[in-house]
Each structure stands twice: as C-alpha cells, then as structure tokens.
C-alpha cells in the first residue's frame, strides 16, 4: 500500500480517536485511581484484573499468567497482515512517597490546567491505556488491526522485573514477534519525541552498617563507633568527588560510542537548558579532563546513585544519639556490556579488600542486564515515520535511553528487536517523583501515534 493510501486509511481512525477523547481520558483516570505499587504490594491484584478486563472489552484473547511475583497480563488481537508486533508495558507504579510533596493526591488523577497528575500516569499507565485505545480505534473503524498485536503487560517493572525473564522463557510462543514496541516515550522541551533502541541495566543494592548493639547517648562519641560515619566511609570508597566510580573493573566492559552513534549524539543533543530550568539547578560537570557531552554522559555513563539514606534520628528538634545502624539504597545504571552480577562481585571483593567487610551488601530485587537492539530495524523506522505524521516534528533517535527495563530478558535474548519512544510523557513529567504528570493533549496524540505506527509497521 503506498503512503498516500495508508494516510487515507488512517484518517478515519484518527477522527474516531478525536471523537472519543473524553472516554479515553476517563479510562486512563480509572487506571490511575487504582494504586498498584509493586514495592509495597498495594493494589496489585485489583490492577491486574482491571487490565485484563480492559483487554477483554477490546476483544482480545486474554490470559493472566502467574509468575512467582505479580502476574503478566497478556492480550492477543489478530491483524490483517502477517506482521506481528509485541507491545510491552507495565501496570505497576513507583511508591508515591514523599506524600506531602504532591500538589494533588497521587491516586486522585486530578486534571488541572490541561495536565493529568497521578503516580504512574507517565510511567506508564498513560502509555498502556493509550495503546489499548489505538487498537480499539482500528477495530471500531475497520473491525481489525493492520497487524497482529500481543500486549505483554507485566506488574513488576518498578521493582526490576524479577520474574519477566522466566515468564519469557516459559512462554516463547506468546512473546514471539517481529518486533516489540517498548514501554515509554517522552517529548522534549521542543516537543520532539525521543526514540531509543536500548535501555541501561541496573544493579540495586542496600549497604548496611552497624556500630554498637543499640543507639547510644552521644556523649560516648569519643569511644563508640557511629554507624552513619561508618556508612559514609564506605560510600567514600565507592565514588570520588567527581562521580568516578572507584570499584576496580567497574568500567572494564564499557564501550565508547561508534561512529554512527556519535553522529546521533551530535545530531540530537539533549536540551541542557530545559533540564536546568526544570530542575532549578545546573547540570553536573563531567569528570575533569573529560571531553564528553552531556548527551553522551546521560546515555553512555554508568552511574552510582544514592536513592535514599537513613540512620538515627530524623524527627523534629534534637536528639543526641549515636545511631547503631544505618543504611543506604544505591542504584547502579549499567551500559552494554556491563554484567550486574559481575559488578556485584567486584563490589563485594573491593569492600572486603578495603577493610569494609563489616558492611553488609544486600542485593535488592530488580537486577537487570542492559538491553540493546539494532538501530537499523523496521520498527524504529515505523516509529519515526508515524511520529512525523502525527507530531509534525522530527523525533530524536538515540541508541538508548538513560532508563532501564527488561528489554534483554523479554526481547534481546530471543533476537526480537525492541524499540521505544512512542509515549505520553514530556520533559517535566516528573516520573518517580511527586507531581508526576502528563499533558492531556499528549495522551491523545500518543493514541494517534500508536494507531499510525500500527499501519506503518504492518506495511513494512
């Protein structure tokens, strides 16, 4: 089918979406009002049922497939072409804390001034529900989809998809596809979507220190070990003042960008000004002497980030104690070909060698390998073309996003290219943070984008 015919075919689908804007929005609000915090086991069963019901309503053949954790909800819809597209999303969300930093309650799905505020609305219930509505539009207008679609909706992405790998291994027939549409997408400050063919991996650990058997009166400080000071000593061993990670062999498997990747880096730089304006802070300088651009650091640098630290008294006023225990949560974002298990081994050996064998290292659920698909794959081209059609703005293409996901476990391992970038988010969506939000208009545009994408992909 030539391009002009595809556009003609698409027009009524887009019109249908416009005329069902309110219903699609209400549906998303319903999803956002159901808490589904995997880390806190909050509302997960109800959410899985809601997802399954929505897939059934769409006419999909549905399955709720149990795992050792939360189930994967699968929906299959037949299409007019032989092309098979898997669509990956997750129905779990990050914890909403700190609650008092939200302007609107995190599970109220408040619409204010053209924005919808809710935990998970950008990451990634907005995407999940938009994709259902894109499929629905095709079915309502034409009775079927341009290609076969399998929705793969897991419930553990925000805790690191610990069981998606075994689900994929046990359900090869379900995950099999010509390509997989990945979960998220964000528009930058100029409105351009970022298209990506890979994700970083992650190793999430806790370090815990113990000083004395119980909190002591702080008058004992000249003699008594303090768990917090000890924790800080261990943290100092991990990273230098410029952010370089000091664990031996940490960088061994990190690769520099290829020529082609350097071209993309130069062509689609991140908007540093927009970040700085949104964050109300300057971005970090790179390590001194390094020539890397902010875009390269963002996408190619592995990290050692403190997600949280605690120890002793943090209430109002003063309490004079020597904390007996302290802890820190750290995520290492890893790039190809860093192996999280090897990194964990390096970390443990290093702490022991440096005399920190008293520091407990706990691996939390959520370890993920970096995932990388080829850039030259039809789904990427389909995403770019459909983005041009719907947004009229050239999308930005990079080899990967700075985020993480189970791309390796669900797709790369089986030779299925996975591409992301179609999504409802924008550069100030505040994912994982208070006041997570999307623009309502972006939600509708994303439904249209995915609808267009299905036709493009089917035609390839």
């Amino acid at each position: 089918m030539p391009q002009s015919e595809r556009m003609q075919q698409l027009a009524p689908v887009l019109a249908w979406i416009d005329s069902h804007r309110d219903a699609a929005l209400t549906h998303l609000q319903q999803f956002c009002r159901q808490p589904s915090v995997a880390a806190q086991n909050w509302g997960m069963e109800e959410m899985a049922k809601m997802v399954e019901a929505s897939l059934s309503e769409l006419g999909a053949a549905t399955q709720i497939i149990a795992t050792e954790g939360y189930p994967v909800v699968v929906g299959q819809l037949a299409g007019d072409s032989a092309r098979r597209l898997a669509i990956y999303n997750h129905y779990d969300v990050q914890p909403p804390e700190p609650l008092d930093a939200w302007s609107f309650p995190p599970f109220d799905a408040t619409i204010h001034d053209g924005y919808l505020y809710a935990r998970g609305v950008a990451d990634n219930k907005g995407n999940l529900v938009a994709r259902l509505w894109a499929a629905r539009a095709w079915r309502e207008v034409y009775g079927s989809l341009p290609c076969h679609v399998t929705f793969l909706f897991e419930g553990e992405e925000e805790i690191g998809s610990p069981h998606l790998g075994s689900f994929a291994a046990a359900n090869r027939d379900l995950i099999n596809a010509d390509a997989c549409l990945w979960e998220t997408g964000y528009r930058d400050a100029e409105g351009a979507l970022g298209i990506y063919a890979g994700v970083k991996g992650i190793l999430y650990i806790e370090l815990r220190t113990r000083g004395t058997a119980y909190d002591l009166h702080s008058s004992n400080a000249p003699l008594a070990p303090n768990a917090v000071w000890r924790l800080i000593a261990a943290l100092n061993a991990l990273r230098d003042a410029e952010g370089n990670i000091l664990i031996p062999h940490f960088y061994d498997d990190v690769k520099a960008p290829s020529e082609r990747e350097r071209e993309l880096l130069a062509r689609f730089p991140v908007n540093v000004e927009a970040y700085q304006k949104s964050w109300e802070s300057a971005i970090l300088p790179g390590p001194s002497g390094s020539q890397t651009t902010p875009t390269e650091r963002l996408l190619y640098a592995p990290t050692c980030n403190i997600c949280g630290i605690w120890g002793g008294y943090s209430g109002s006023g003063s309490k004079t104690v020597i904390p007996a225990i302290a802890g820190v949560k750290i995520d290492f974002r890893l790039v190809p070909d860093q192996d999280p298990q090897k990194i964990l081994g390096h970390l443990r050996r290093y702490l022991t060698e440096r005399g920190f064998d008293d520091v407990e290292v706990i691996e939390l659920e959520g370890t993920e390998y970096p995932g990388q698909s080829p850039i030259d794959t039809p789904l990427l081209e389909a995403l770019v073309r459909s983005a041009r059609t719907i947004y009229g703005i050239e999308p930005h293409v990079q080899v990967r996003t700075a985020g993480t996901g189970p791309m390796e476990a669900l797709s790369q391992r089986y030779g299925i290219p996975a591409i992301g970038g179609a999504g409802v988010g924008h550069s100030e969506s505040r994912t994982h943070a208070p006041n997570e939000n999307i623009r309502v208009d972006d939600y509708i545009l994303n439904i249209k984008h995915v609808a267009a994408l299905l036709a493009e992909f089917a035609a390839m």
Copy 2:
C-alpha cells in the same frame, strides 16, 4: 556533729526508706508513665503539674515559673542548718523513637527481672523522684531537712535548656546556694559511682542540602546533582577518617589535662571491657600517633557526632530516585574553653571557603557552654563520703562527665559549684536509646545516698 553521730542520725532515715520501697517505686512509675518529650511537645504541661504536685505533697513551697519555653518548677524546703543546697534535675525526656526497638513500651514503666524500663527513667526521672523521696524520708523521720534545699526542675534539658539561662538571670534569689547537686549519676560495671565537677558543652546543628527542585528519576544521575552525595561531600570536609575535626580553629581553645587531672585519669580509668561487652563492639582507636587513653578521650575530646541522617527513599524494596533534599543532625560536644558560638562561626566560614556555600547550616535549640566547677569543693567531698557509706565502694572522681548540661548557665556563671554523680543509672542504662532502664535496687540505694549526702553537706 562527729561522723558517728551523723551515722546514728541517718540510720532511721535509711530504715524509713527501706520500709517505703514500694511506694517510692510506684511514684517513679507514675512519673515514667507520663510522656514528657520536650522535642515533640508531648505531655509537657501534664508533667510539670505532676512535678509541682509531688513537691507540694512533700511540703515544699512551690512555684511554676514560666519561661519562653517550658516552665521551671521550683520547690523550697527549709533545713536545720544554714547550709543551702540547690538540686538540679529535669522533667523532660528524649524522644522514644525508634519505637520498634523497645522490648517494653517506653511509657509503660514495666518492671522486669529487677529492672524498670522506661524512657527517661535513668535520664533523669529516676534521679528526680529519688531526691524527692530522700527529702521526704528526713521530713517523715525528723520533721525537717539537715540543710535548706531548693529543687530546680526544668523541662528543656533534652533540647539544650534554651531558657534556663534567662530563668537563672531573672531568679538569682532562687538559684542562689552554697552548691548545686547536678542531675545524674551512673554506676560502672563494678558498681562504682562516677562523681564529676563539669560537663561538656554542645552545639547542635542541622546541615541541609538541595540538589534539584524535586526528586528525579534516577536515570538522570549522570547529569543531575544528588542532595545526598552533596551532603556526604560536606560531611567529608568536617572530619577525617580518624575522627579528627577539620574545621580550622576548632581545637584552638582545648586544654590538656592538668597534673591533678592526669592523676584522676590514671586512678579511675573507664572500664573499656565493660563498654565493649555492652556495646558488642570494639571502642574506637584514638587518632593514630596519639598517646591518649580511652578515659582521656572520653572526657577531654570534643566530638562531631552524627545523630541522624536522611534523604530520599528509605521504605521497603527499591525506589529509583535522585533525592532533591537531604539533611543531617550533628552534635558537637565541646570542652572548656570552647565557645559554641565561635565554633559555629568557624564552621560557617569554613564551609563557605571550601565551596559549600550551598549547604544550609541551621543551629538547633540546645547550644550550651561547657561547665566546669572546681574539684576541691565541699559538695564533692560530701558526695564521695556518702557514696562510701551507702555503696561501700569507692566512687570514681573525674573533672567532668562526657555528657552535657546547663551547668554554666545555672551555676558556674554565678560562682556556685555544681557537682554530679548521685544517681540511679548504671553502665547499661541505655539513656537516649531504646530499652532505657535502671535497676530497681539502684533506685532505692540512690534515695539513701541522697539522704546521706544531705547530712554530710549540712555538716560541712
């Protein structure tokens, strides 16, 4: 009155105490069951009224004297001699957190296996109530006390006695005395009381850092400043790995022990083994190259102690964020002649000079000057003699305790010697910590000790 006559006079008082053991214990439990957490404004008014009622019941002329914070409760009892003893205690307690670390609820005053468990029982409701019972015993047996006594019970010791100085300045007639019996006392692992003539000062601050305007998704870590890493950088500037404080001029006014003080240090060393057994950890080594003993470090070394640290996510499981804000609470224990306000100035200048002008320095209520009374003062001798009488174990005398109190503001400034060491605590009393406790027998012994002390002091 010669010593033998004093002993004869004392015997019925001690017998009366033994026969009122249960009532005295019940009275203490009543005090412990009333929360009085100054830092959290919890139960303070009720507690002040309970203190005043107990003083009235004792026959004292009472006053509840308002301050800008919690009131000072004063009780005056006339005595048979011209000697005037002030008795200083506080009716507030530390916050009970962390609650789940208590074996018995902190305000239940549970008696178990000869121990009484409660927040504040050792620090220092046990002392306060015991002193009331010592006075009561004299009045019940002889109708009056051996000397004039003025009880000065404040409600803000655990938040640094911010208003006791202005109370003292405005009530010179009330605080005036030949000497002041200080608040606490603890028996070491061998049962010996520690007598002290001074207290350390304290400067209590919070440092706060801010990275971005809100918590970010941690995929931004290569570019976004992290408030916790920033806080750790600032903390590294304060102290080296051996615990030496790096603030310029911090040690300028610190004095080495005198000859006489060195004798006391050598004669009454702290029991390192007992500490290590109780704490289940080795004590800290001194700075490398230093020849100081643990006793000298404990009593003569100023400290920079982290009381609590927080930032980001500390809940269950994982959350991948870059914390926007972080904070730490620090107490500096200061020795003569360190001036907390000068130290605070040094700290602020130093942080600015080191490039940490983004780090907010907040002085919390509780700043106190070091207090030091002369060792050669009658009250100290009276404490030692009466301790020998009641405990049969030679008490340990040191120039000061490692703890802090408003000795300078209430006594030293007006030339009134203040001596501490009569108390209900023991080396594992866990003051400021979960499972704070005293031995019930030590409570009764302390009542007797104070009763004996009154006679000794009156005779000097």
